[in-house]
Every structure is written in structure tokens, then in C-alpha cells.
């Protein structure tokens, strides 16, 4: 098979330099690649196959202009794209073939949908003449992904390629971000068109960023200024909106204490005096208790997910709720908003600032402190300075936090270790937390970590994974090895599906139904993938083990054997109210 060596290179440079980005008589597949380049996509994650081969041929030709990372499973491509997008705050791209390639993307797409991550997935499809005939590797990708995408479209003619891809990026990136799937039939990839790229700037039926209502702002300001016990809930929206500075200004002016949702972590440094901790099922004691005691609740960029509210019929009923949110469908969906403030978080904070009064809530803040002390005594101390023989996940995370000075990007999988990493790492730098929240997808971490590393090569990326989740996508070690991405992986191995075991202990009389894992030699497997690895199972070796990992030049995996049965507290049991949070 002959291999072309960039025969059009000169022409491409000319085209990319030209302001109009025009090219005559090129294939749909080439148009796909050029459109991605025009959208400033530097890398994409994918896995080839029959129905997407024309695009792969063009990627080969343009490899100096756009980098493709070959994953080991299409699910890995989606999580890698998510990890990448959470850092760049712009849509990342995955590429897969038809049939099973496309269906393997679905979990990641659903995850991106519920966590509002911008993503454009391009799938190959059988030729349009074969649609509906149960052809080889044919699936109704549009039908199957409709409920889990922000938008999707099937391209059947080459001439549609530039416009549809432009529209895909616009929709994925704007307003409340989300995943978009573009299914391209093989004949559309092979067909010819005259290419001219234009960016999409508006879609008629879509208002991504509603205008902020001045009356709502005035009402909110009035409530905030009169409040005696205000509390602010900070969610992912603040990070998406890049409103960290505005948030800081707001808090320091109004003196209002705040709590973060899981996806809002690192919007404000953990150490900030007004940061009272994390909300939700395994959040901190104070934020949960005080939610049901405050008089004004200001929610920004968060959707009152059930993990945060507990029993929603007994959630903050005593408070006046101000809900700052860009997606109108979230207003009054779970919690009634007395003052809905629909709009972008940054713009909303800016609009509120001018008339807000400078205040301090000394007594109110002391109440949070008291909760913090109690939580420390009953839960935290034993987690991070344990007296037990076995290592706790908490002490490992604590040590990682100290060694990285709170400045690493922490990527986690799903389960007990995830909650522990959320609670015990000191997030000092923003955009430092990448985790599967809404869907809770096990196997998310490993690919998301290398996606994040591609987006932030100069930052330390630490993947904290459980032994269960690791095995769901461990094949992506191959991707890490092949692309030489320097990700630091820590397996917190307790030989159990810890979170499920905890529930079985607390609510199912310790009937540990199929949660005990017979684990392989993780170190041997990792070394088999050409990545350096080691195991630590005693406290005295932990610090040294971590140092070796961080100092190693290249990817590294450290397996840390943890206590088999330890529970994550505090906990709001299912059906309980937030103030019924348990410390044991």
C-alpha cells in the first residue's frame, strides 16, 4: 500500500494562512480534518475502523497539523476527551467507526452530558445507500445517542461537512456545554465538495446565554444585603464560566461563607477562610448542617443534584433561595427558586456587585468552625492520622496534597477513593479537579488523566483510582505508554468495591454480595505496558514511594494497599435530610 507523504502540504500552509480558508474539490473526509484544524483542534482521541477510514487517511496526511491519540477502547477516547475538555474549557474531539465503535462511546457521551462537558464525537457510518438494511457495523447512532447528547446530526452529503461541524462546535461550546455527535456516512466522506470554512455564531432556536434580568438582580441584592445567615453554594458553573475572580471578590465583599459541590471543587482554594468545605452525601459536616439553618441560600452554577440535597422535601425549606444558573430548564426543577437569576455566572456576579454591602458574619462563621472541629475529632483525624496498622486512603491523599503543595490536577475514578480525594486534597489552584460526578462512571479516571495531561503538559496530573475502576479501563495504559504521557497513577487498593461494600455494611447487614475483588498483580501488568510501577503496603514506605513516583521522569503507577474495610464519613444516607448527616 503506497503511502502519500503530504503531497498537498504546501497548499495547506497557503490555505491555513489565507483568511478565507477555501479549497476547491476536496473530499468530505479532508473537509472534516480541515474543519477541525479551523476550529483550533490540536489533538483528538480515537480508534479507526472501516466506516471512518477515509477520515483516518486524511489524518495521516495532516499529522503535522493535528495530533491523533490512538486509544485502546472507544470509551477511553470519550473520557480522554472529557479530561482534556475540563482543562481547556473547550470542546475536545473523539473519533470512532460505525457500529460497535459508536456504541462504545455512549457511556462517555452520557457522562459528558450530565456533567456539562463540551465534546464533539465524530462517528463513521455505513454508506447512505445501505442505511436501514442492517449492514455490517451499522447502528442507528443518531437514534441511540439522542437522549444523551445536546445535539446530533447525520451527514449524508459531503457538502454538509463544514457547516455541520461548525454548528457542532458552536452548540457543544456555548451556553451550558455538552456533547454533540456527528455521524458521517462513508459516501459523504468520499464525496467531493468545494470547501470554505465559516464559524457558526448563532443558531436560530437557541439562546445559549440568556440576558440577565435587572429586576432579578435587584431582588437578589436586596435579599443578600438583608441576610443574617447567608450561605452560598458554588458549583461547576463557576468554573465553566471562568468566574473564579468574580466569585472571590463577591465573597470577600459580602463575607458570605460558601460550600462547593463535587464539581465545584477548586473554584475557590480549599484553604480560603470562607470556604466551609464540600456539600453533599459525603461532603463536610458544616456545609450540610448549615444549609438547613441559613436564611438566604445563594446557589451559583449548580443544579441541586440529589447527592447534594438529600431528601429534597426537607432541603433548605427555611431559606429564601437565589438560583444563578444559565440553563432555564434547571430553575425550579428540583428546588424552588424565590429569585431565579438566569444567565452566565460571571456576568451575574458582576451585575450583583455594585449594590452589595460590605459585611462580616463573625458569629455565623463561628458556627461553621464548630462543625469543622467536631468533624475533625470524629472523622478527619482518624482518616488522615490513623492509629490503625493498615494505610487509609485519607492519609495517602493527604500526603499527596502536601507533596504537590495542592497544585496538582487530581483526576479520580468513582467510589470511596473519589470521596476521599475530594475531601482531603487541598485545592490551591483552580481547574484542578476532574471526576465523573453526575454519572459516576467507573473507568473514567485513567483515560481522563491522559486527556488532562495533553491539555496541561506542564502541570502534575495525579490519577487516583480504586482497584475496581482501574480494571474497567486498564487497557488505556497502552495509550499512556505509546503517547509517553507523564501521568502519575495511584491505585488505592482495598481489594473491594469499597463504596458498595460500605452500603452493604450499613444497610444490608454486612451481606457482602459480590464486592470482593481477587486482584491481579497491578505492578506486573503496568510494567508489562512498559510503564514503571511499584507497590507500597506499609506506612513507613509511603512517603518514599510517593517521592520516587513524583521524581520519575515519565508515567508511573504506585499501588498503595489500603485497609480492606473502612467507611467514608460523614454520610447523608439515602432519603435523609442534609442536616441528618451522620458522622459515624
Amino acid at each position: 500500500m503506497t503511502v502519500k507523504k503530504n503531497p498537498k502540504k504546501g497548499k495547506l500552509d497557503q490555505v491555513l494562512k489565507s483568511p478565507k480558508l477555501k479549497m476547491k474539490n476536496i473530499s468530505g473526509a479532508e473537509a472534516v480534518v480541515l474543519s477541525l484544524i479551523a476550529e483550533d483542534i490540536k489533538c483528538l482521541f480515537g480508534y479507526p475502523g472501516g466506516a471512518i477510514m477515509p477520515v483516518y487517511d486524511e489524518l495521516y496526511r495532516y499529522q503535522e497539523h493535528i495530533n491523533h491519540i490512538l486509544v485502546r477502547h472507544e470509551q477511553g477516547a470519550t473520557h480522554a476527551a472529557q479530561g482534556h475538555a475540563r482543562i481547556t474549557n473547550k470542546a475536545s474531539v473523539c473519533l470512532a467507526t460505525s457500529g460497535p465503535g459508536a456504541t462504545n462511546l455512549i457511556t462517555g457521551i452520557a457522562d459528558a452530558q450530565i456533567d456539562s462537558t463540551p465534546m464533539v464525537c465524530i462517528t463513521g457510518q455505513v454508506p447512505s445507500t445501505l442505511l436501514g438494511t442492517d449492514a455490517f457495523q451499522e447502528t442507528d447512532v443518531i437514534g441511540v445517542t439522542m437522549p444523551v447528547t445536546k445535539w446530533n446530526y447525520q451527514i449524508t452529503k459531503a457538502s454538509e461537512v463544514p457547516e455541520i461541524i461548525a454548528k457542532a462546535f458552536y452548540i457543544a461550546n456555548s451556553g451550558r456545554p455538552g456533547p454533540v455527535v456527528i455521524d458521517i456516512t462513508k459516501d459523504a466522506q468520499l464525496g467531493m465538495l468545494d470547501f470554505e470554512y465559516k464559524k457558526c455564531v448563532a443558531v436560530r432556536t437557541y439562546e445559549p446565554v440568556p440576558k440577565i434580568n435587572k429586576d432579578a438582580v435587584a431582588k437578589a441584592v436586596e435579599l443578600i444585603n438583608k441576610a443574617k445567615k447567608p450561605f452560598m453554594l458554588v458549583g461547576h458553573g463557576v468554573l465553566i464560566s471562568k468566574a473564579q475572580k468574580e466569585l472571590l471578590k463577591f465573597l470577600e465583599l459580602t463575607g458570605i461563607p460558601c460550600g462547593m459541590t463535587l464539581q465545584g471543587l477548586s473554584a475557590l482554594p480549599t484553604s480560603h477562610p470562607l470556604n466551609t468545605g464540600m456539600l453533599g452525601m459525603h461532603g463536610n459536616y458544616g456545609p450540610n448542617i448549615k444549609t438547613n439553618e441559613c436564611d438566604v441560600l445563594i446557589a451559583i452554577g449548580m443544579r441541586f443534584d440529589d447527592r447534594v440535597t438529600g431528601d429534597v422535601t426537607r432541603y433548605a425549606k427555611q431559606a429564601q433561595v437565589i438560583h444563578i444558573e444559565i440553563d432555564p430548564a434547571e430553575i425550579n426543577k428540583n428546588v424552588f427558586a424565590h429569585v431565579p437569576l438566569i444567565g452566565d455566572a460571571k456576568a451575574a456576579l458582576k451585575a450583583l456587585m455594585p449594590k452589595l454591602k460590605k459585611k462580616k458574619y463573625i458569629k455565623w462563621l463561628k458556627e461553621f468552625d464548630a462543625c469543622k472541629k467536631e468533624e475533625y475529632k470524629k472523622v478527619v483525624k482518624e482518616d488522615i492520622y490513623p492509629k490503625s496498622d493498615g494505610l487509609t486512603m485519607g492519609e495517602v491523599v493527604r500526603m499527596v496534597s502536601e507533596k504537590t503543595e495542592g497544585r496538582a490536577i487530581i483526576v479520580t475514578d468513582v467510589g470511596q477513593h473519589q470521596m476521599v480525594a475530594a475531601r482531603y486534597y487541598d485545592y490551591e489552584q483552580t481547574d484542578s479537579w476532574i471526576s465523573s460526578g453526575g454519572l459516576g462512571t467507573m473507568g473514567f479516571c485513567l483515560p481522563a488523566a491522559f486527556g488532562a495531561k495533553m491539555a496541561a503538559p506542564k502541570r502534575e496530573v495525579v490519577a487516583i483510582i480504586g482497584d475496581g475502576g482501574f480494571q474497567m479501563t486498564l487497557q488505556e495504559l497502552g495509550t499512556i505508554w505509546q503517547s509517553e504521557l507523564s501521568v502519575k497513577i495511584i491505585i488505592l487498593n482495598n481489594n473491594f468495591l469499597g463504596m458498595v461494600r460500605q452500603w452493604q455494611q450499613l444497610f444490608f447487614d454486612k451481606r457482602y454480595s459480590f464486592v470482593e475483588l481477587k486482584n491481579p498483580d497491578f505492578v506486573a501488568i503496568t510494567k508489562g505496558f512498559g510503564i514503571e510501577a511499584a507497590k507500597v503496603d506499609e506506612r513507613k514506605n509511603l512517603s518514599n514511594g510517593l517521592d520516587i513516583m513524583f521524581e520519575h521522569d515519565g508515567p508511573y503507577l504506585l499501588e498503595v494497599v489500603c485497609e480492606k474495610e473502612r467507611n467514608v464519613f460523614p454520610m447523608i444516607p439515602s432519603g435523609a435530610a442534609v442536616n441528618e448527616i451522620r458522622l459515624d
Partner: protein
């Protein structure tokens, strides 16, 4: 407390949209009582009329969700007293029933129905009206052996001049369905 609500969903003329909209109901386990779609007075705008029985709170949430779907312009929620609505029903009876006596003919007259088709074996009667009326006719025709029955979905128009919605749509239609600008 559940009430009958009619959702008037104004969209771009795109077929794939139906699945998206129906999903908003099915995922909340809500039965759609009737579903019709057609162009509006404006060829670029399509209307999907959905009849649903649910609580006010839930309907508002569903309407908000549907409005966020790309290609949906606007969703308006109506109660029965805010609408002019109609359904169509067809009843198939044996032509013999018509010839045996003049009872069926009387029923048709009294109920403002009409005979749409007369064949050797079967006759089809048509009635337009509200559900209660078409159902009433059904009950009256039952003794004469109904061989087939079909009811259309509800179509409806607001009983007011929806100035703000019309203004909004006129403004939207001034733009292309998607706007593009050259790369800078």
C-alpha cells in the same frame, strides 16, 4: 393534582425532533394522550401539539426541558379554556345498519356528524368535535355494530392573539436557521 394540558411546540421543520420531544415524556413515565404535527401559517415553522395529563408543576418542568432542545423555538402550555381545539373521529358501520331502519341516519343528523363514504358492505361516518362528543357518538352507534373506529389527535389554536409569541417568532425568522461568519 392532574389536569389536561396542551403543549404547543413550535419548531424548525426537522423530522428527527419528534424523538427528542417524546423522550422528555417517556423518561418521566408520562403517557402522551395525543400527538399531532403540521406546518403553521408560516412554512418555516412547524407545530407539534401534544395532549398530556399531568400536574402543573411537572408540565412546567417538561415544557422548560423541551424548550432547551436545539430546533425548538418555543413551548406554550395551555389549559382547555385557553384554546380552540378539535378532534376528528371516523366510525365504520355495516351499510346494512343504515338500510334496516332510519335510526342510524337520525343519529348522524342529531349529532352533527356526516356520512363520509357509502360502500356495498360498509359505511364510514365522520364527526368532528371534542373528545366527549365523539365518544358520545360512539356510544350511540355501538348498538348498530361498529366495525372500525379511529380518532385523530387534538389540533388546537390559542383563543387569543398571541402577540408576544408571534413577535418573537417573526424576529427569529429574520435570521437563517444557523448563522456563520468567516474565520478571523
Amino acid at each position: 393534582m392532574n389536569t389536561e394540558y396542551t403543549l404547543s411546540i413550535l419548531t424548525e421543520n426537522n423530522v428527527g425532533l419528534l424523538q427528542n420531544i417524546v423522550t422528555e415524556f417517556t423518561k418521566r413515565k408520562i403517557n402522551i394522550d395525543s400527538f399531532t404535527g403540521s406546518e403553521t401559517e408560516n412554512k418555516d415553522i412547524y407545530r407539534i401539539t401534544i395532549l398530556v395529563n399531568a400536574s402543573e408543576q411537572l408540565i412546567k418542568k417538561i415544557a422548560n426541558s423541551i424548550e432547551q432542545i436545539i430546533d425548538v423555538f418555543r413551548v406554550v402550555v395551555y389549559k382547555d379554556d385557553e384554546l380552540v381545539y378539535q378532534e376528528l373521529a371516523l366510525y365504520k358501520v355495516p351499510t346494512k345498519s343504515l338500510l334496516d331502519s332510519n335510526s342510524v341516519e337520525n343519529i348522524v343528523r342529531e349529532n352533527n356528524a356526516r356520512i363520509l363514504y357509502v360502500g356495498k358492505e360498509i359505511t364510514v361516518i365522520e364527526k368532528t368535535g371534542h373528545k366527549e362528543q365523539t365518544q358520545e357518538l360512539f356510544e350511540k352507534l355501538k348498538p348498530y355494530n361498529i366495525l372500525g373506529f379511529s380518532r385523530s389527535g387534538r389540533i388546537a389554536l390559542s383563543n387569543k392573539n398571541m402577540k408576544s409569541v408571534n413577535k418573537f417568532l417573526t424576529k427569529q425568522l429574520k435570521n437563517d436557521s444557523a448563522t456563520y461568519e468567516p474565520v478571523k
